[in-house]
Each structure stands twice: as structure tokens, then as C-alpha cells.
């Protein structure tokens, strides 16, 4: 009796997932019309501070262990917020890059660079989110996600280069 129950439940879950996907697709269809409205602001300097190993070491030495764990959890939660914003922006910029890929050769090359960077950043951001959530569970564990900031800035540079060749309606300002 267990196998048919599992299969029926799995089918129901797949149907719900597909329905949500179709609805989500309909809702996000306008992202390319006004990409800057959908991008989330990321303060790279604040993110660097939150994930700075020297800052973490300083707090570890200055605070009582329980207090350090509480503060570190809050810092990592804030960092995870930034990383999820970065991941969401990377997904939108992937689509922007795709949309610009087939125009002039110069734009096409910048768009290709943006796609590659946004893709790598999205992949890295997802890994970083896992690391950060593990860090929230074990706040004593050292967390290293500093490369996110570098890659995010690299992506911003590609957006600007692309924007110089193809107007992107304030996309880089929104980043």
C-alpha cells in the first residue's frame, strides 16, 4: 500500500510544483521590461564587513562565547540576506545578458561576458548560502564567502560595459 501512496503523493507534489512554476513564470514575465525595478540593492562594503575574517576574529576575542555566537548568528543572517539578493540579481542579469546577446557584435561580446559572470556568481551564491546557513547552525565554525563581493563587483562592471553599448534603464544604478 505504501508504494501507490508515495507515487500518488509524488504526482500531486509535481502537479503543485508545475502549477506554481507556470504562475511564477506569468508573474515574472515583466522582469525584462523593467529589470532595474526587480533588482535588489546590495551594499558590497557592508557585506565585506559582515564576512571579514579579521572582524570575526576580533569579535571572538572580545566577546564571551555565548554572546559571540549570538552576534555571529545575526551577522551571518544579514550576510545570507545579501547573498540571496546577489543570487536573485544574478538570475535577472542572466536574462538581461541573454536578451542582449544577439544584437551588435560589441554588445554580444559584453553580453556573453555578463552571462558567464552572472552564471558563475549564481552558482557561487547558492554554495555560499549553504555555507552561511551551516554557519548560522554552528556559529563557531569559520565561514569564508568573501569571493562573493569580488564576483558581484565583476558582474557590475560587465553590466556597466553592456550598458554603455545598449541602454539598460538604470540597471547598474540599481545594483
Amino acid at each position: 500500500m505504501i508504494t501507490p501512496i508515495i507515487l500518488v503523493l509524488a504526482s500531486a507534489l509535481v502537479l503543485i510544483f508545475l502549477f506554481r512554476l507556470a504562475m511564477g513564470r506569468a508573474l515574472t514575465a515583466g522582469q525584462l521590461d523593467h529589470p532595474s525595478e526587480h533588482l535588489r540593492k546590495v551594499d558590497v562594503e557592508a557585506f565585506r564587513n559582515l564576512t571579514d575574517p579579521a572582524e570575526e576574529e576580533f569579535l571572538r576575542n572580545q566577546l564571551a562565547p555565548a554572546e559571540f555566537r549570538r552576534i555571529q548568528r545575526e551577522r551571518l543572517r544579514a550576510a545570507a540576506e545579501y547573498v540571496s539578493a546577489v543570487a536573485s540579481n544574478a538570475a535577472i542579469l542572466l536574462r538581461v545578458g541573454e536578451a542582449c546577446r544577439n544584437s551588435t557584435p560589441a554588445t554580444s561580446s559584453s553580453a556573453q561576458q555578463l552571462i558567464e559572470t552572472a552564471f558563475r556568481l549564481r552558482l557561487y551564491a547558492m554554495q555560499a548560502l549553504i555555507v552561511l546557513y551551516l554557519g548560522i547552525l554552528w556559529p563557531g565554525h569559520r565561514v569564508s564567502v568573501a569571493r562573493i563581493a569580488e564576483r558581484y563587483e565583476q558582474m557590475t562592471r560587465h553590466v556597466i560595459m553592456l550598458g554603455l553599448q545598449n541602454p539598460l534603464q538604470g540597471v547598474s544604478a540599481a545594483l
Binding site: M1, I2, T3, P4, I6, L7, V8, A10, S11, A12, V14, L15, F17, L18, L21, A22, R25, A29, G30, L32, D33, H34, V44, S88, A90, A91, I92, L94, R95, V96, E98, A99, C100, R101, N102, S103, T104, T107, I115, E116, F119, R122, L123, M126, E153, T156, R157, I160, G163, L164, N166, P167, L168, Q169, S172, A173
Partner: protein, 254 residues
């Protein structure tokens, strides 16, 4: 029960009619050139469903004769379905060239993983079906549906993870096929366990789901594409080079 039988017949007849509409629309929009396997699948399914309906209503056609046509037809259609899924994979990974290296490995891994899942589910399924032929048929349908749902589900999850945009019609093909496979999976599992081959309710459910999937394909065929991809993004103002240069300078200073 008479009206339920009428309803089932109506849904049965409706499938090839809707598929004919889709075929004509695909030809008129020349979409069949981009999706030849899917086109072949829709044509084959329309012919198969129509032939099976006529054979079912002809008193001169015996049950075994009907089954002799039904089984090979089902095998051919299932093979075509998997080729359509491959066509969808190929299309997605060709459009997103930076993902090219992931396409084949993802398809192969998902194929092996869900084939094993299908075999395991079949091994653990206890049948209460009175007819051995039908029991085998439901088990095969269940395994094929697990594979289809698994392959399409992997593709949906993978593209959701990277926030990939799908061209409307490719999304529609995958959505229609995935939802139909999910309903068929549930129906095959229930039929197999409870021995309900002849259940009119389950047959209504699967036939209705087939029609719904064709409607989904028709809807997405006529839906405008929202993915862009031609470099002409909508509502974009003229570049303000001074602003861009200012931003570039700020970034360089960091």
C-alpha cells in the same frame, strides 16, 4: 453510469480534434521545423487515439484484436515521448550556450536515477489486477511515467535554480507533458494496486488530463514570447553616457 460513458467518449474524441488544431497551428506558424519530434508525436498520438476509438466502437473488432494494436502503439508513443523530452533538453541547453556542458550529463544522470527509481517502485508494487496483461501494462506505464516526470522535473528544478528563461512554447511542451505524466503516474499506481483497469473515473481523469495537456500546448503556442533574446529589450531609454561613465568611474575607484 451512462452519462459518464458518454463523457468519456466525448473526451476521447476531443483529444484528436484538439491535436489536429495544434498540428495545423504548428504548420501555419512553421513551429514544426524547430520541434520535429514533438510534431511527429502529436500527429502520431492524434492518429492512434482516433484509430483506437473507432476500433473500440466497431462490434467486429474483438478485445484481443484491439489489444494487439494498442500495445505496439503505446510503445511507439512512449518512445516518441522520451525523444520529445530529449528535444526539450537539447533546445534549452542549445539556447543557453553557457550551460552546454551540463546538458548531456544532466539528462543521462536523471535518466539512470529515475530508471532505477521506476524499477524499484515496480519491484515494491503489489498488484491486485485480475488480468496479467493489464498488470504488466500498468507497471510499464508507471515506470515510464516515473522516468518522464523525473526527467522533466530535473530540468525544471535545474532551470529554476539558475533562473533560466524558457521560450514560451518549449515551456508549454514541458509543462503539458509533465502534468499529463504526473496524472498518468498516479492513475497507473492506483489501477495497479486496486486492480481498477476498467474504472471509468480513472479513465475520465487520464483522458481529461490528455486534453488539458493539448490545451496547454495550444495556449503556449499562441502566447507571445516574453524571453526577449533578440537584443531589442522593451521600454529601454536612450543611453545616458555621462551617467554610465560616472558609474564606471565610481566602480573603478572601489
Amino acid at each position: 453510469m451512462h452519462w459518464l460513458r458518454l463523457m468519456l467518449d466525448g473526451l476521447w474524441v476531443l483529444t484528436p480534434m484538439l491535436e489536429s488544431v495544434l498540428v495545423v497551428a504548428m504548420v501555419r506558424r512553421r513551429v514544426f521545423v524547430r520541434f520535429p519530434v514533438f510534431f511527429a508525436y502529436v500527429v502520431a498520438d492524434a492518429c492512434f487515439t482516433a484509430v483506437m476509438f473507432v476500433m473500440d466502437k466497431l462490434p467486429s473488432v474483438s478485445g484481443p484484436a484491439w489489444t494487439r494494436v494498442y500495445f505496439p502503439g503505446l510503445v511507439i508513443l512512449s518512445a516518441l515521448q522520451f525523444t520529445v523530452v530529449w528535444e526539450v533538453f537539447d533546445h534549452i541547453f542549445r539556447v543557453h550556450s553557457f550551460l552546454n556542458r551540463f546538458g548531456k550529463p544532466l539528462f543521462r544522470t536523471a535518466l539512470v536515477a529515475f530508471f532505477l527509481a521506476g524499477i524499484t517502485a515496480a519491484a515494491f508494487t503489489r498488484t491486485h489486477e485480475a488480468y496479467p496483461t493489464m498488470a504488466i501494462l500498468h507497471l510499464l506505464q508507471q515506470t515510464a511515467s516515473i522516468l518522464l516526470v523525473g526527467l522533466l522535473g530535473s530540468l525544471f528544478i535545474f532551470s529554476a535554480f539558475f533562473g533560466l528563461s524558457w521560450r514560451s512554447f518549449v515551456f508549454g511542451i514541458a509543462l503539458g507533458m509533465g502534468s499529463d505524466a504526473a496524472v498518468n503516474l498516479a492513475a497507473a499506481a492506483i489501477k495497479e494496486y486496486f486492480g481498477l483497469s476498467g474504472s471509468i473515473y480513472l479513465n475520465l481523469l487520464t483522458q481529461g488530463s490528455s486534453n488539458l495537456s493539448v490545451l496547454i500546448w495550444v495556449f503556449y503556442l499562441f502566447m507571445p514570447d516574453t524571453t526577449g533574446g533578440n537584443g531589442n529589450m522593451k521600454n529601454l531609454s536612450q543611453p545616458d553616457l555621462e551617467d554610465w561613465n560616472q558609474e564606471l568611474r565610481e566602480i573603478s575607484r572601489r
